[in-house]
Symmetry: C2
Subunit: 143 residues, 2 copies
DNA sequence: TTCCTTGCAAAACTTTTGCATTAAA
DNA sequence: TTTAATGCAAAAGTTTTGCAAGGAA
């Protein structure tokens, strides 16, 4: 029940997931994974770097970017392009969609069953659908 | 039927649309608008700058960016965040969606009637839907 | 004249890369 | 020991900004 026991569990799970992907579980990678994969969330590279350093970790910016790209290429995390200013890294790699609150910039997961398509266009000849990115932009209610 | 008559028509339409928005139609703005609004397309700032300079126009990079941001803020064009590496400016401001060909990077418009949602999640309390960004990623067909 | 726009260069920001050092197997 | 990962700094790419010069009303 203690925080350390809980984070040890998180770290252990992360190491297992890395091992399954053939990713060597170095100290920095485990810390980055433990931070990002502990719960469903969306973080930027800069947020991850700041958070790790605030908690006393010795990590470089290059390693954060290298690691996030490595994780994304192995399907451990998902990179999102929502606002164009920076990349967001999503710990939830299961298919899902997003609300994007324009006022706060917050991203909120939308589960697949909450969206249903009754019609979709056929992909152009020679191509097939790789995935669907759906972002529902939100503004403050006027009324 | 000549190219010059046609481009004069495009320029005139662009000036009219700018006037409707209260945007002063300077020479650079008309050229940028004529290039982008002549047909439905998706261009980057760099492509627009290169194209204008190739056709002999004297325009600076700052003016291209300033103008595109101005147009977007007045609803004359739409800014897209598809791949995170750069912004794409869409001459089509009517509601529509996109195919994104991962192999070529091409963006293809998908008309609204080609997509039908039979279920959508209710927006969180205090918010309302501002718009829906839908990108259907395409890969080369395996079979 | 007065205000707005432009161009240029520099700055700001995010992300990538080269290379020497360090850590892991 | 051998290979791969890290840190640092510099570079690269996109976009913004400060400011002097130019143009429109």
């Amino acid at each position: 029940m203690s925080a350390s026991a809980s984070s040890e569990t998180v770290a252990a799970r992360c190491q297992q997931r890395m091992a399954d992907c053939g990713i060597r579980p170095t100290a920095q990678r485990v810390r980055i994974a433990s931070l990002l994969l502990s719960e469903p969330q969306h973080l930027s590279a800069e947020q991850i770097l700041a958070s790790l350093r605030a908690s006393g970790a010795r990590v470089s910016k290059a390693t954060v970017y290298n690691t996030l790209n490595l994780f994304a290429s192995h399907g451990l995390i998902r990179q999102l392009s929502v606002d164009g200013t920076r990349a967001w890294f999503d710990s939830n790699v299961d298919a899902h969609y997003h609300f994007h609150d324009l006022a706060s910039g917050a991203l909120i997961d939308v589960p697949v069953p909450d969206v249903e398509f009754s019609r979709l266009p056929p992909p152009p000849p020679g191509t097939e659908v790789d995935g669907i990115d759906l972002v529902i932009r939100l503004r403050k209610k006027a009324s």
